[in-house]
C-alpha cells in the first residue's frame, strides 16, 4: 500500500503558542485515520495542513509523495475533498448546484455532471428529484451533512478530509450518519483523515486512531489496540465509554 499523506516533524506556532510539536504521521491508501483529542489538541490545525489552509512553521507535509508546497494549491485542494460541520454548504445554491460545483469548475461535460450528481445524492439517500432543487436552509442537519459529503466526493478525490463533520448533530442522527459513513467507506474505500473528539466515533470509523495531546501524538494504534492503551490520555477518553459494548467498533470486527 502506498503512503498518501505523510507528516514529518510538523510544528506549528502561533502567537507564541505551540499548537503542534514535531508530528510524524502517515496515512496509507485506503485507511481512515482518526485524529482524536480534546479541544485545542491541534487536530484541526494538522488537518488543514494537508490542503494548505495552514502552513507548518517547521517540518513538511507530503501528499502523494510530493511536498504540499510544491503542489499548485488549487490542484491539491481539488484532489482532496473537505467536509466541515454543517457541510459548509453555499446557502445561495441548490443541493444539486452545491454537489456539482467542483465537476463544473473542472469543466466536465454536462451529461456526466448530471449523472454524477444524481448518483452521489442517491448514495447518500437523498434522491435527486426530491432534494436536487432544495436550498440548504430547507434541509435538516443530517441532510446538510450528507450533501456536504456528496459535494466532497463529487470530483472523486484521492483523500477525504473531515473536520468533526457530525459534531453538531443530535445523537440519533449522528449515529445514523456514522453508520452511513462506515458503509460508504466499506463500499468505496476512500482514504480519509477524520478529526473528532468523540472516542465512540473514533472506534467506530477509524482503521487507525491517532490520539493528540497538546500538539503531540500520544498514541497511534488500531482500534483493537487502542482500547488497551496504557496512556493516561487514552484511558481518559476510554472511561467516557462507560459500559458501552464495542460491537460496532473495529476492535471486535
Amino acid at each position: 500500500m502506498a503512503t498518501l499523506v505523510e507528516f514529518r516533524g510538523v510544528t506549528y506556532q502561533i502567537g507564541g503558542r505551540q499548537v503542534l510539536c514535531g508530528i510524524d504521521l502517515s496515512v496509507e491508501e485506503g485507511e481512515t485515520v482518526v485524529l482524536l483529542g480534546r479541544s485545542g489538541a491541534g487536530k484541526t490545525t494538522l488537518l488543514k495542513m494537508v490542503n494548505r489552509l495552514l502552513e507548518p512553521t517547521a517540518g513538511e507535509v507530503r501528499f502523494e509523495g510530493k511536498r504540499v508546497t510544491e503542489w499548485d494549491p488549487i490542484r491539491l485542494r481539488r484532489r482532496t475533498g473537505y467536509v466541515i460541520q454543517e457541510g459548509g454548504l453555499f446557502p445561495h445554491a441548490t443541493v444539486a448546484q452545491n454537489v456539482s460545483l467542483l465537476p463544473r469548475l473542472e469543466r466536465w461535460p454536462e451529461e456526466r455532471i448530471r449523472q454524477r450528481t444524481t448518483e452521489l445524492l442517491d448514495t447518500m439517500g437523498l434522491p435527486e428529484p426530491v432534494y436536487g432543487s432544495r436550498y440548504p436552509r430547507q434541509l435538516s442537519g443530517g441532510e446538510k451533512q450528507r450533501v456536504g459529503i456528496a459535494r466532497a466526493l463529487a470530483a472523486d478525490p484521492q483523500l477525504l478530509l473531515l473536520d468533526e463533520p457530525f459534531a453538531a448533530l443530535d445523537p440519533v442522527t449522528r449515529y445514523e450518519m456514522q453508520q452511513r459513513f462506515a458503509q460508504l467507506q466499506q463500499d468505496f474505500g476512500k482514504t480519509a483523515l477524520f478529526v473528532t473528539h468523540d472516542i465512540r466515533e473514533a472506534l467506530m470509523l477509524g482503521t487507525r486512531i491517532a490520539l493528540l495531546k497538546e500538539g503531540r501524538v500520544e498514541v497511534i494504534a488500531r482500534p483493537e489496540e487502542f482500547v488497551k492503551a496504557r496512556s493516561q490520555e487514552a484511558r481518559a477518553f476510554l472511561v467516557t465509554l462507560g459500559q458501552m459494548t464495542l460491537d460496532e467498533s473495529h476492535a471486535t470486527r
Binding site: L53, Y82, E86, F90
Partner: protein, 204 residues
C-alpha cells in the same frame, strides 16, 4: 405661467431623474472595483471608508460650492452637480458592498477555498451573490438620498426639480416650491418601494 407648469414639471422631473441616474451609475462604477479591493486590504479599507465618511458629513451645498472653482470637475452646470451627487452616493454603496462581502460566513468561504476554488471563482460564485442583498440595500439608500440632495443641484445651475424650489423661495411662492418638492418626494417614495421590492425578491 400656470398653464405651462405641468409641462415644466415633467421636463424638470426628467432632468432630475437623469441627474440621479447618472450619479448612481457613476458611484456604482467607482464603488464596485474599489469595494473588492478594500475587502482584501484592511488598512486601506479603514482609511478609505474614513475619507468617504468625511465627505458625507460636509453639507451638500458646501460641496457644490467647493466644486465650483475646480477645473474639469467643477464649474456651473450639470457636470458639477453630477460629480457632487456621485460623491454623496458613494458612501452607502461602497460601505454596503464592503460589509456585504466581508459578512459572508467564514465557514462558507473556507469551504470554498478548501474545495480548490480560485479567488476569482470565490468572488463571482460565492462572495458577490451572497453580498447582493446588502449591495442592493446600499443602492436603495443612495438612490433615495440622492433624489433629495439633487434638488440642491439647481443652486449651481444643475437643473432638476430644485429649480422650482429655489425659484419659489426667491418669489416667496409656496405653490412653486411645492411644484418642485412634491414630485421629488414622490420620486423618492417610488424609488424606495421599487428597490425595496427587488431587494426582498433577492433576499428570500
Amino acid at each position: 405661467m400656470n398653464r405651462m407648469r405641468p409641462a415644466e414639471i415633467a421636463t424638470l422631473s426628467a432632468e432630475h431623474l437623469w441627474l440621479v441616474a447618472v450619479a448612481i451609475f457613476a458611484a456604482l462604477v467607482i464603488a464596485a472595483p474599489s469595494a473588492v479591493l478594500l475587502t482584501r486590504r484592511a488598512r486601506l479599507r479603514r482609511w478609505t471608508l474614513g475619507v468617504v465618511n468625511v465627505i458625507q458629513t460636509v453639507p451638500s451645498l458646501a460641496v457644490f460650492g467647493f466644486l465650483l472653482p475646480l477645473p474639469l470637475l467643477g464649474g456651473v452646470g450639470k457636470q458639477t452637480a453630477i460629480v457632487a451627487l456621485t460623491l454623496y452616493a458613494l458612501l452607502p454603496i461602497l460601505r454596503n458592498m464592503v460589509v456585504g462581502i466581508l459578512g459572508v460566513d467564514p465557514g462558507v468561504r473556507e469551504s470554498a477555498v478548501a474545495m480548490g476554488m480560485t479567488s476569482r471563482e470565490i468572488l463571482w460564485g460565492v462572495e458577490l451573490p451572497l453580498a447582493f442583498p446588502t449591495v442592493l440595500a446600499g443602492i436603495r439608500i443612495a438612490t433615495v438620498t440622492t433624489i433629495g440632495t439633487a434638488t440642491i443641484a439647481a443652486a449651481i445651475g444643475g437643473g432638476g426639480l430644485g429649480t422650482f424650489v429655489f425659484r419659489g423661495i426667491a418669489m416667496a411662492d409656496t405653490r412653486t416650491i411645492l411644484a418642485g418638492a412634491v414630485p421629488a418626494a414622490l420620486m423618492a417614495i417610488v424609488a424606495d418601494e421599487v428597490l425595496g421590492w427587488i431587494e426582498r425578491r433577492f433576499s428570500s
